[in-house]
Symmetry: C2
Subunit: 338 residues, 2 copies
């Protein structure tokens, strides 16, 4: 906001018509005579007029702002998807407001409130499991909301995502197929993070189903950072018998594990295999390349934008969509050495 900004009235005066006409010129040009429209456009250009957002929002009760709360901006996990989401929105002249929650439900709630009070017409959220209080707020306000990065067959909510549990099971099964029986899992922190929890659950389920005793599988939960992953590695490597493969809850953890392993002189996958999850761009640049679960981020972002906009414009018309993941094989997973 800014004292120098010309207003509708300024333009009206400059063009010699009423404010209403200017407004119509902008919002429904076909309801205005060609000649006036030209004159008005001219005045707009000359004055450098841009509609005042507050005024417009107040009058239309629409902001054309969509909010998104992602767990973190500090790593690349959500970057591509959000980028795609935004591109799709801007095609429709909708602006994206981004908040980040640092994986903290309280902070997520705060961000949601900020977004709403800034007038967001709809919300993109990551995951689905949030505190009672947050859900109540969302329901009470009837804000169109769409959840990404997960999928549930719940007709009352909108999802554009995939089945973390199934994907987790897939990658675990692959590791076991390679012959590993002695496993460890380094997961993200599951509390308040359904994606992490589901992935872990899927892995455990698959491991159990293959006849491996889950009691023997070390499971560590830790924050998503290279450093935390390195510490987790130290814990795991000290165990006996030493695992031959570590399943990581995401690629950041996996890269941290590999890095630590190599700097301690272990070879990957010679001494130890590592798998990731997400397929962020580093995954192909670590040495060895990371065998991981590819998440269709870009597609997810685009589709999420479409469905969320649909839901905003015609409540009830947005559809949930389940996307598929698949495993990308690179060098970090190999057979165990006897």
């Amino acid at each position: 906001m800014n004292g120098n900004a010309p207003t509708l009235d300024d333009v009206a005066r400059a063009a010699g018509v009423s404010a209403a006409t200017i407004s119509r010129c902008i919002n429904s040009p076909d309801r205005v005579a060609e000649s006036t429209r030209r004159r008005v456009q001219d005045a707009i250009d000359r004055l450098g007029y841009t509609p005042n957002f507050g005024g417009r929002a107040l009058a239309t009760r629409r902001t054309n702002i969509v909010g998104a709360v992602i767990p973190s901006m500090a790593n690349a996990i959500f970057a591509e998807g959000i980028q795609a989401f935004q591109e799709e929105l801007s095609r429709e002249k909708v602006t994206l407001l981004i908040g980040s929650s640092n994986y903290d439900p309280d902070y997520e709630f705060e961000q949601i409130q900020t977004l709403i009070s800034h007038g967001a017409d709809g919300l993109l959220l990551v995951g689905s499991n949030r505190p009672e209080r947050t859900q109540r707020f969302l329901d009470a306000r009837r804000i169109p909301t769409l959840n990404v990065w997960c999928f549930q067959p719940d007709p009352d909510q909108l999802f554009v995502g995939f089945d973390n549990s199934r994907a987790g099971a897939d990658i675990a099964r692959l590791v076991i197929e390679y012959g590993h029986r002695n496993l460890a899992i380094v997961s993200g922190i599951c509390e308040g993070n359904d994606r992490a929890a589901d992935r872990l659950a899927g892995m455990k389920q698959a491991i159990g189903a293959e006849g491996i005793d889950l009691k023997q599988v070390t499971v560590l939960q830790t924050k998503y950072s290279f450093e935390h992953a390195a510490r987790a590695f130290d814990t795991i490597i000290a165990q006996s018998p030493r695992p031959t493969a570590i399943l990581a809850g995401n690629d950041v953890l996996a890269v941290g594990l590999i890095e630590r392993a190599r700097s301690l002189g272990f070879s990957v996958p010679g001494d130890l295999s590592v798998t990731g999850f997400d397929d962020i761009s580093v995954a192909q640049f670590v040495e060895p390349g990371l065998t991981t679960v590819r998440v269709p981020q870009v597609q997810m972002g685009q589709r999420a934008a479409e469905e969320l906009l649909a839901e905003i414009r015609h409540p009830g018309s947005g559809k949930s969509v389940e996307m598929l993941t698949h495993i990308i094989r690179r060098g970090s997973l190999g057979p165990p050495t006897a």
Copy 2:
């Protein structure tokens, strides 16, 4: 915006006071009696009231929104800095609206307009060299603007950044110190990108100053992507005499070069050294680790927030600050092999 949202009047009615009192409760609590304040707070909680942004913006002519336009969200270059910037802002209850320009000045202008029309009180922009038209618009609207990632001793603009040219010269000098005389440069596209241009200029200047004939130095400009970097590598490697070191304009390019080199069977730094610029987090996870210029992103983001807010609240009070870069030595730069 949303039909169900309770308004000030609703709260006023619920609390049995006037709307003005509610407003005061929120904006200057000390001007309201303790007892009423409690009663009002109660009503607010009960109704789940959040102030309507449009109304507030209209009345105060302030949005408490700050806009930022970054060249890209798809890679990690700007992530940390923006994250720090946002954290600092939210400490002051200011919201960040992010746009990305894809390194295109026209698109940057469009994003700036969007941000302004959404009421941004101030703007964070990357770099300083923008088209006449953009600058005119900014000047006409008198929007407080701060430029990051570069520094110029221009008293009419605000900078929180560093000297790209000097940093470029530093890294070039280091490479030459290692004994390389046969160099190539893979730069970002300089047109419309002052950071890329300055880095390149600094490198060239240092190379010339060391008595190397610039005519012999291949300079390629390409987009910031692993793929483009790989293509640039192919061009360079085909030359004779083959360079013993490649200076990259940023880390994305450098990682792309290394990756391509290794997949073609070249050893780094054995056959060929590579240096980067920015020190994004992959830089330490490629093999070998990247010798690069460390940019104080987090510090830059924080400081930018402080100075921009100062400028918004008291025009003229924001200060430019120059930050320093330094070189991080990892494995990708070694002496040339005879």
